[in-house]
């Protein structure tokens, strides 16, 4: 029982990280219909920016975190402006190939700058974050992941639900011509979704970096898990992305805990194939409103 609880909590913690990354992926897809194959690299970039601030520049952790978020946000804008915007209106396959190219380019740049070694952050999480309860022992990084996951998902939940910018973003995803007719700055919405995506990916990348160490390939591969997550949750649904993330996180951790650690890495992709076969639009895929 304790083992079960332990795994559940750790699974949810990891799940929040997948959920954050998937939130960014779904947002880009919903607003601009772009499938971002460079998503894993966005996680890696975030993790390495944080490494540069905290280890190279030896800035305090909270500043490093803040600067990384700001940097990722700006980077997202720049990526959209430089690479995606010229392709607005082009065929889907061209845009997908572009993101595949971007993935290779980012990975290459990170390798050139940082090399392919395994890095780690200084151990900065307070030991007080550890949860001990009988035989349950949750390390600080999982607790931090849990807390940060809930905080940022709530922030974005409120942002989309109540803020004007959030409502404009949803309007573009819903009906682009109508949004244009009301003067919504559609290109700005595209840029904004890339910026937010890069930001949530950075958060996710940093925490995964704390959990597993920082390596260009490893983190990029971890980022690929957004695919099973969004296929499970439904490409069109931000809520689905979050629930999908949590499910995959828990499933993976259970598999690792009860079955085998080698199956752990594969299980999300088994789910992906299975879901595509039985429920191609995912658990929360868009239910078309028939009326209208």
């Amino acid at each position: 029982m304790e083992f079960f609880l332990q795994l559940s909590i750790q699974g949810l913690s990891v799940g929040f990280l997948y959920a954050l990354a998937a939130l960014g992926f779904v947002m880009i897809f919903k607003s601009s219909s772009v499938l971002n194959f460079a998503h894993g690299e966005l996680l890696a970039i975030g993790a390495f920016i944080f490494l540069a601030f905290s280890v190279w520049l030896k800035l305090p952790i909270y500043l490093s975190f803040l600067f990384t978020l700001v940097g990722a946000f700006i980077l997202g804008f720049v990526i959209e402006r430089l690479f995606l915007r010229p392709l607005i209106g082009e065929a889907l396959i061209e845009v997908i190939m572009l993101t595949v190219g971007l993935a290779a380019m980012f990975k290459g740049l990170l390798l050139v700058i940082f090399g392919g070694n395994l890095f780690s952050y200084p151990d900065f999480l307070p030991a007080g974050l550890t949860i001990r309860w009988g035989a349950i022992n949750i390390p600080p990084v999982y607790v931090a992941s849990f807390i940060i996951g809930i905080i940022f998902l709530s922030i974005f939940g409120f942002f989309f639900k109540y803020s004007s910018q959030g409502i404009y973003m949803r309007s573009v995803a819903d009906n682009q011509p109508a949004a244009l007719s009301l003067g919504v700055h559609v290109r700005r919405v595209f840029a904004m979704s890339w910026a937010i995506a890069a930001l949530v990916c950075a958060i996710s990348g940093i925490i995964l970096g704390i959990m597993n160490g920082i390596n260009v390939h490893d983190i990029s591969v971890l980022g690929l898990k957004v695919f099973p997550v969004v296929i499970l949750g439904g490409l069109e649904s931000i809520g689905g992305a979050i629930i999908g993330g949590l499910i995959i996180g828990v499933l993976e951790t259970f598999t690792g805990g009860y079955v085998s650690t080698s199956l752990k890495e594969v299980i999300p992709y088994i789910v992906l194939v299975f879901i595509l076969l039985v429920k191609p639009y995912g658990l929360f895929g868009l239910v078309e409103i028939e009326r209208v």
Partner: protein, 267 residues
């Protein structure tokens, strides 16, 4: 230039995808404070004319290739919709296009996109005062609204932008007669109370000419007639083809009407 002139469309040609010419030298003027109706049958180019004004041709790969459009003396042809909406020109698209997955109130809030600071509380009240049935629906997803509610929603949404010039594309399409009367009455009230200049594209010429001050008739991408609305209503050709009140038998092609052939072309 007269100072009550708001919009001037000078001899514009519009081409889609570089080859499909739809408008062939359209000219019209819209004076401040008026309701100007643009009539014409299916495919005449009414929607294209509105989109040329609002800048929404661009996303459809359409272009103003000749002529100019001047809004308060400023050339706006082929400007982006972001720019044009911020000058106060808002188009309500044909076919009632809500944001289906947003609630009614969220839909209305999108109407503030062009305005500084995105204020919306007072404006919501104003919109609800014109379109009372929306109040009961405000927290519902717009996709579940009825046709009449949707028409109110899309017009209310445009009103949130404080338009100087409101372009309405077939607001009455597919609505029950009593709703059509209600919608037109509201259009008239908005024009009078908010001092909003309105360009009204309609197939329902009867109703449109009742509230309009001036009217244009369009055929095959050209303006073929223009007159004060009261005169247009009395015009035998308009009666025959748009009001359906003429006594003659079978429907003829517009070109067969002699009086039309004799009429001096706009161009």
């Amino acid at each position: 230039m007269e100072d009550n002139l708001l919009l001037q469309v000078n001899n514009i040609s519009v081409v889609y995808s570089d080859v499909i010419q739809v408008l062939k030298g359209v000219s019209l003027v819209i004076r401040k404070g008026q309701i100007v109706s643009l009539l014409g049958s299916n495919g005449a180019g009414k929607t294209t004319t509105l989109k040329a004004i609002s800048g929404l041709l661009k996303p459809e790969n359409g272009k103003v290739t000749e002529g100019s459009i001047e809004y308060e003396g400023k050339g706006i042809h082929n400007s982006s919709p972001e720019t044009i909406t911020r000058l106060g020109i808002i188009q309500v698209l044909e076919g009632r296009q809500p944001f289906k997955y947003l609630t009614v109130e969220e839909n209305l809030r999108v109407g503030t996109a062009t305005r500084w600071g995105k204020p919306y509380k007072k404006d919501l009240e104003l919109v609800y005062s014109y379109f009372q049935p929306l109040v009961a629906r405000k927290n519902r997803q717009a996709g579940f609204c009825s046709g009449g509610e949707l028409q109110m929603l899309v017009m209310g949404r445009a009103l949130m932008a404080h338009p100087q010039l409101l372009l309405l594309d077939e607001p009455s399409l597919g609505l029950a007669p009593f709703l059509v009367r209600e919608i037109f009455a509201i259009v008239k009230r908005i024009n009078e109370e908010q001092k909003t200049t309105i360009m009204l594209v309609e197939q329902n010429a009867n109703m449109a000419l009742l509230i309009a001050h001036y009217g244009y008739v369009m055929e095959n991408g050209k303006i073929v007639m223009e007159e004060a609305a009261t005169n247009l209503r009395e015009n035998p050709d308009v009666k025959e083809f748009y009001l359906g009140t003429a006594s003659s038998g079978a429907l003829k092609s517009y070109k067969d009407v002699k009086s039309y052939k004799r009429r001096k072309r706009w161009l």
